[in-house]
């Protein structure tokens, strides 16, 4: 069976990688391709080109009275929210036929609003992202020039944030991945092959965020960093006593990257988003529908790798500028921007790539050159190095 045509938007990822290679002179970044980074999870897991169920299986496109919504039910507790979503205690959380029937009676915009309020990752095929790919507040003081290797503190989990930190590592930074010892990065167990590729060569520090002294140690470590990558909701960090804006104002040159589903303006600050639903919110499934007449997902959670690449580029550019800043990156905004760039470059070719993708439904993803997986640190392996060094500084 022949494999699928190129993953849509992989050309846009190539352009971002090329810009990053030029900016940093990194041979390792130059050697990467968008096709590999957008397709490696699918290749590692033998995914097939998705239709209405995402390649990874966690998200599905469903009909409403007036359009389509993408609903992720990937977390163990998401289904327990379905009775509240439909306002009916008799909803059977695990009956997918019933779910489809109930959704078909709702209006897309209303159910998406309600779902987001409940904390579900849900998107409307016809929506426009509420914010841009990146919003910057450049209120940090200038960096103090230093000959040492830049230090990246990676507080993120899953795909986009860890990929961004990994790319910064390839560009020459030292990367320390921080995990909460009671809420680890679930990808370590869930998808070890992808975890290894995204987190290879990072040091690993495990912290119990419920303990004040360990939170203090984390903040002390952050104060030594050049770049922080995190994907927490701002309120969660603030509730832990970590104030990103204040740290950016106080620590010279600190570049703080917040990866979000939909930005932090207004209500969106509380919305959840994962790779597939954010791709839909960014307009990718609408473009696929326009080009092919079919409803489906394009690529595999491509908002994740696209955002990882874009966030790394923005962080490196900001570092080159030499002043601290907080960069709030929106996954749906990144997809919309990549789509707009491809449309601008060659609208006909974009439509053709989406049409080809839709025609390949059910076939294996394109083969990609798999990257080797290097050393992966055990959870908390480097606590002594990074936390003790901190207590003495």
């Amino acid at each position: 069976m022949t494999t699928a045509p190129a993953i849509p938007l992989s050309g846009s990822a190539d352009a971002q990688l090329a810009a990053m290679a030029t900016l940093t002179g990194s041979q390792e970044i130059a050697a990467l391709s968008g096709a590999t980074l957008l397709g490696e999870r699918a290749a590692l897991n033998d995914f097939v080109v998705p239709g209405r169920v995402s390649a990874g299986g966690g998200c599905r496109l469903l009909d409403t009275r007036d359009g389509h919504v993408a609903l992720s039910l990937a977390r163990p507790e998401d289904r327990a929210l379905l009775p509240a979503l439909f306002g009916d205690a008799t909803t059977s959380p695990n009956d997918d036929e019933e779910l489809a029937l109930r959704l078909s009676r709702e209006y897309a915009a209303e159910i998406v609003k309600r779902g987001r309020e409940l904390g579900l990752a849900i998107a409307n095929l016809d929506e426009q992202p509420v914010g841009p790919a990146c919003r910057m507040s450049d209120d940090g003081p200038a960096a103090t020039p230093s000959p040492r290797q830049p230090l990246v503190i990676d507080l993120s989990a899953l795909w986009a944030g860890p990929l961004a930190a990994h790319l910064l590592g390839l560009a020459g930074a030292e990367v320390v991945k921080i995990e909460s010892s009671n809420r680890q990065d679930t990808m370590r167990q869930g998808d070890p092959a992808l975890f290894a590729r995204l987190n290879q060569h990072k040091a690993n520090v495990a912290i119990d965020l419920r303990e004040q002294d360990q939170r203090d140690a984390l903040i002390a470590l952050i104060r030594r960093a050049d770049i922080v990558i995190e994907a927490a909701r701002p309120r969660a960090l603030l509730q832990l006593g970590i104030d990103a804006n204040q740290l950016v104002r106080e620590v010279p040159g600190l570049v703080w990257v917040t990866i979000t589903g939909h930005g932090i303006a207004g209500d969106a600050v509380n919305w959840t988003g994962f790779g597939d639903d954010c791709s839909v919110a960014g307009g990718l499934s609408a473009a696929l529908l326009a080009a092919s007449g079919t409803v489906g997902f394009a690529g595999d959670a491509c908002a994740d790798p696209l955002t990882g690449i874009y966030a790394a580029r923005r962080a490196l550019e900001q570092r080159k500028r030499g002043t601290g800043a907080r960069l709030v990156v929106s996954m749906s905004g990144v997809v919309a921007q990549a789509l707009a760039a491809e449309r601008e470059r060659d609208e006909v070719a974009l439509a053709k790539s989406l049409q080809n993708w839709a025609d390949a439904r059910g076939r294996p993803f394109p083969e990609v050159e798999l990257r080797p997986a290097g050393r992966v640190a055990e959870l908390g392996q480097d606590n002594a190095t990074w936390l003790e060094a901190c207590w003495s500084c």
Binding site: R41, R75, E77, P83, G87, L118, L158, W159, R183, D191
Partner: protein
């Protein structure tokens, strides 16, 4: 009371969405919550003034009630006088 209903505190800014519920009175700051805020707010009971946190989910001991805070306030949540506690954050998916 059905899941998905929104309730407002009679004593502070707190608003919750009901995820799950059973028999009992949902209270905030020591006073029953309702569909609308009263014209004149009730007084916040000092025994129920721990406050609510945005986005946190609150549960009773046997898991009958679960409330999602959609607007924070000064009162704390209870069912028929028994305080609710914060539920741990949702585990992330194995991969997204």
């Amino acid at each position: 009371m059905k899941p998905g209903s929104k309730l407002k505190s009679a004593v502070c800014d707190t608003e919750v969405m009901v995820i799950r519920c059973g028999e009992g009175t949902i209270e905030c700051g020591g006073a029953p919550m309702g569909d609308a805020k009263p014209e004149t707010p009730d007084t916040l009971s000092p025994d129920h003034s721990g406050g609510t946190l945005m986005g946190k989910r609150y549960v009773d001991a046997n898991g009958t009630f679960e409330l999602l805070c959609v607007k924070p306030g000064k009162g704390s949540l209870a069912v028929s006088g028994v305080a609710l506690s914060i539920k741990d954050a949702k585990p992330l998916p194995a991969s997204d």
